[in-house]
Symmetry: C2
Subunit: 85 residues, 2 copies
């Protein structure tokens, strides 16, 4: 078993309302960043886990996302990276 650090992005599903992103975009406009268009706010998780290899670590984290970390109705997740530590 080796140790891996897996990064995950959990973002609101495309087409769903993202009120937090809208609030950030409005605040940036107010601050003078007029060039800003859409903003999307999601979560960035870094999970350290032991696994036989990188593929097993990724599979395990996908299962964590499906069972706990992401809301399947409103959110999508993607594995951003798997590095051995």
């Amino acid at each position: 078993m080796k140790s891996f650090r897996v990064s995950v992005h959990i973002v609101p599903r495309k087409g769903l309302l993202d009120p937090q992103g809208k609030a950030v975009a409005d605040a940036l406009h107010t601050l003078g960043f007029g060039a800003v268009g859409d903003v999307h706010v999601g979560r960035h998780l870094v999970i350290e886990t032991a696994a036989a290899d990188a593929a097993a670590a990724e599979t395990s984290v996908r299962e964590m996302c499906a069972r706990l970390l992401a809301n399947p109705v409103t959110e999508d997740y993607e594995i951003a990276g798997v590095i051995a530590v």
Copy 2:
């Protein structure tokens, strides 16, 4: 002016308590993911902005992080990627 999509990670500063990460790690252990070690939870922002080039887009987003998006006392930010759209 071209359009760029800039990804930013905002994470709790190293060494600071990350109660949300601790809660996620505990929940994963309860669900049977015993191999999980530390978990860190941060924010993942995707900002669409117009700029002359990729370097200008990155500079502009760094200023947004410093002025609004990240808490300089408790959080670090990093530009994860800049892509033209």
